[in-house]
């Protein structure tokens, strides 16, 4: 895909922002298991970084996805996965459906402050009993006058502890048709500085990686919101979410590659000066060949991902390529992290090295946003090789 000088200028600006406003604080935020989302998002909002593809009427820039893709890749220069992921939730996971299908009133209420960085957004799909199996979620909303009353809970919610609203996928019909009984509703989590009535943050979850990002389990008990907070049509939620997943999946692949390249470069630097058995570790053929192979794989992933981005920009259906890119990035992040960490030896096992954090953070890539196995299922379906399930006799 051919990028313009403006793309490159955006890349430089985002990398500079990451180097000055994120990286110096990563250790502190990882330790605290939270980062100051409102403060950081306000800065990002002021620079116009939270609404690149969003309509200009709500403070966005109205640009095509290639510009967002450049930003997502540049965010990967952060020395952790947690903060870029939280930003990705704001730009690519919680807001695409709202921007695409939300009413003007709803976009003014939720999208505009999210683009400005005044509001922190979450995406609510996974539950304790349903993650990648989106169709099986249990949270439901029933109509009462002009309102919905929401009950249920959402699990592993990024930005959940400090979020202001959640893009919530829930059941709005009870006819047992899992693909047409769901809607997406914008549910406030905070109102006038207080917890929105009926919303509880059950736990700030302790995680293996992505520690600088706060993750919550949320509970909804008789949460009352106007029906006008529903995005688009009733019953279209599953379809909207599947569309929204394309951006989430490209985000995963785009933001993962700089970390992989950085891990390889840092490993070259470390093994080049660390000696064992009378020579630098890098001089062992097994090491430099392996690093060459990994770099080759990363470049393949980048090519695949940018091809998906290009299709998306051209308005073509990129589902198969976005799913492949997501699958490959999750697997490759694990492979790069594990191979590189091995060559760091004892130092690689220490928390103080970037490589150990990369190893921990990268593990989520194969799980979040649809697990590897779900990606394989989608690819098989589009290849026409997925067997149909036989109905019980």
């Amino acid at each position: 895909m051919k990028l313009t000088p403006e793309h490159e200028e955006i890349r430089r600006t985002v990398i500079k922002f990451v180097e000055n406003e994120i990286n110096p604080y990563v250790e502190e935020w990882e330790e605290a298991e939270i980062f100051p989302a409102h403060e950081l998002f306000r800065k990002l909002g002021n620079l116009g970084m939270l609404g690149i593809t969003k309509p200009e009427a709500y403070g966005g820039l109205g640009l095509d996805y290639s510009y967002q893709a450049v930003m997502n890749e540049a965010l990967g220069h952060a020395h952790c996965g947690g903060v870029p992921m939280a930003i990705g939730v704001q730009t690519d996971m919680a807001t695409p459906s709202l921007a695409r299908f939300g009413s003007d009133e709803l976009r003014a209420r939720f999208l505009a402050p999210t683009i400005a960085g005044e509001a922190v957004a979450c995406i609510g799909v996974s539950e304790t009993g349903a993650g990648s199996d989106v169709a099986s979620i249990k949270t439901y909303a029933v109509k009462d006058g002009g309102d919905y009353i929401v009950n249920g809970g959402k699990m592993w919610i990024t930005n959940g502890v400090q979020g202001d609203w959640i893009c919530l996928l829930c059941n709005t019909a009870h006819d047992g048709k899992p693909h047409t009984n769901k809607s997406i509703i914008c549910v406030p989590l905070m109102e006038d500085g207080k917890r929105f009535p009926g919303v509880t943050v059950e736990r700030k979850l302790k995680k293996m990686g992505m520690r600088s990002s706060d993750t919550a389990e949320l509970h909804f008990e008789d949460v009352r919101v106007p029906q006008s907070y529903r995005i688009g049509d009733e019953g279209a939620g599953f379809m909207y979410q599947m569309l929204q997943f394309q951006e989430e999946r490209m985000y995963s692949a785009l933001s993962a590659t700089p970390g992989m390249l950085n891990a390889i470069q840092e490993t070259i630097a470390y093994t080049g000066q660390r000696e064992a058995f009378g020579q630098p570790i890098l001089h062992n053929q097994v090491v430099h060949y392996r690093l060459a192979e990994l770099l080759t794989e990363v470049e393949c992933l980048r090519a695949l991902t940018w091809k998906a981005v290009e299709m998306h920009v051209n308005g073509e259906d990129c589902t198969i390529l976005a799913s492949m890119a997501k699958l490959k990035s999750g697997r490759l992040a694990r492979e790069v992290a594990d191979s590189c960490l091995q060559y760091w030896g004892g130092m690689g096992f220490m928390e103080e090295t970037h490589i150990s954090r990369f190893f921990r953070d990268g593990r989520l890539g194969s799980i979040g946003g649809g697990a590897d196995e779900v990606m394989l299922g989608i690819i098989c379906k589009l290849m026409g090789t997925l067997p149909t399930r036989r109905k019980p006799a």
């Binding site: 313009t4 000088p5 403006e6 490159e8 200028e9 955006i10 430089r12 600006t13 500079k16 922002f17 002021n46 620079l47 116009g48 970084m49 690149i52 820039l61 640009l63 510009y67």
Partner: protein, 258 residues
């Protein structure tokens, strides 16, 4: 009022440097380039002045087409237009020639105020802005940490050991900027997109009425070398007098340190 800001595209000092086999040029293929950091402060100062008093800010650079990269950054920060001196003869100039070319460029704009970083972080020569002031017969202050415009007079502070000077300069003037003066802004994404429409004019030496021969360097580059990095360990054996003698011999003959 027109303000010219002299900016330079330089290698990021965090880059790994290598010298080409000719030993007269730096290998550029693996370098990451940025706007010279002091120049960023100069651009910021000009934009602040524009926001406060209104002005046209023109960024001026000399170099190949790639120099436009940092000019675009300056335009995205808020400068209004760019002027790039480029083409035949511009790649072999020393500070003297660059200053003559940039002085002619500044003159062609009709700038009353010229900002520049106190030095470029690639060759650290601290020559160009001062020479431009001399060539254009403008007042000049260097290493400035505070700038104010008071009618037709610039009031500036210069840091010196243990204190500071306050100087008043009549305009037109050339001011070189030290980094403590301000915090350069990030270009916002909307401004990056708007900068697309801002013009970057190009002029050759001939357009400025100059010739490569007239700007020929007064300095000849003999060779470039990197600082010596290899650490060699000598472990000297023997009794103390023998070891001292051997140490002196090594420092004199091998290390040439004495």
């Amino acid at each position: 009022m027109k303000i010219a800001v002299l900016i330079k595209r330089v290698p990021d000092t965090a880059s790994v440097f290598a010298i080409n086999p000719d030993q007269k040029s730096v290998a550029t293929d693996k370098l990451k380039f940025v706007m010279s950091p002091y120049d960023e402060h100069a651009v910021e100062e000009a934009i602040k002045l524009k926001e406060a008093n209104g002005a046209d800010v023109v960024v001026v650079s000399l170099g190949p087409d790639s120099a436009k990269e940092v000019m675009r950054t300056a335009l995205a920060m808020g400068a209004d237009e760019g002027l790039l001196v480029t083409g035949a003869g511009t790649d072999s100039l020393t500070s003297k020639g660059v200053a003559e070319a940039l002085a002619a460029a500044v003159k062609s704009i009709g700038a009353e105020l010229v900002f520049a970083g106190k030095q470029a972080v690639d060759d650290d020569a601290s020559q160009v802005a001062e020479r431009v002031a001399e060539l254009l017969e403008m007042a000049h202050a260097s290493v400035v940490t505070k700038f104010e415009l008071n009618g037709g007079t610039a009031v500036v502070n210069r840091e010196i050991e243990g204190g500071s000077y306050t100087l008043e300069l009549p305009l037109p003037a050339v001011i070189t900027i030290e980094k403590g003066i301000n915090t350069p802004r990030y270009p916002t994404l909307p401004n990056i997109m708007k900068a697309k429409k801002k013009p970057i004019a190009e002029k050759s030496l001939a357009d400025l009425g100059l010739s490569a021969e007239a700007l020929a360097p007064g300095v000849v580059l003999e060779s470039l070398s990197l600082p010596r990095q290899n650490r060699r360990n000598h472990i000297i054996d023997g009794d103390t007098p023998a070891r001292v003698n051997e140490l002196i011999r090594l420092l004199k003959e091998e290390e040439k340190a004495l």
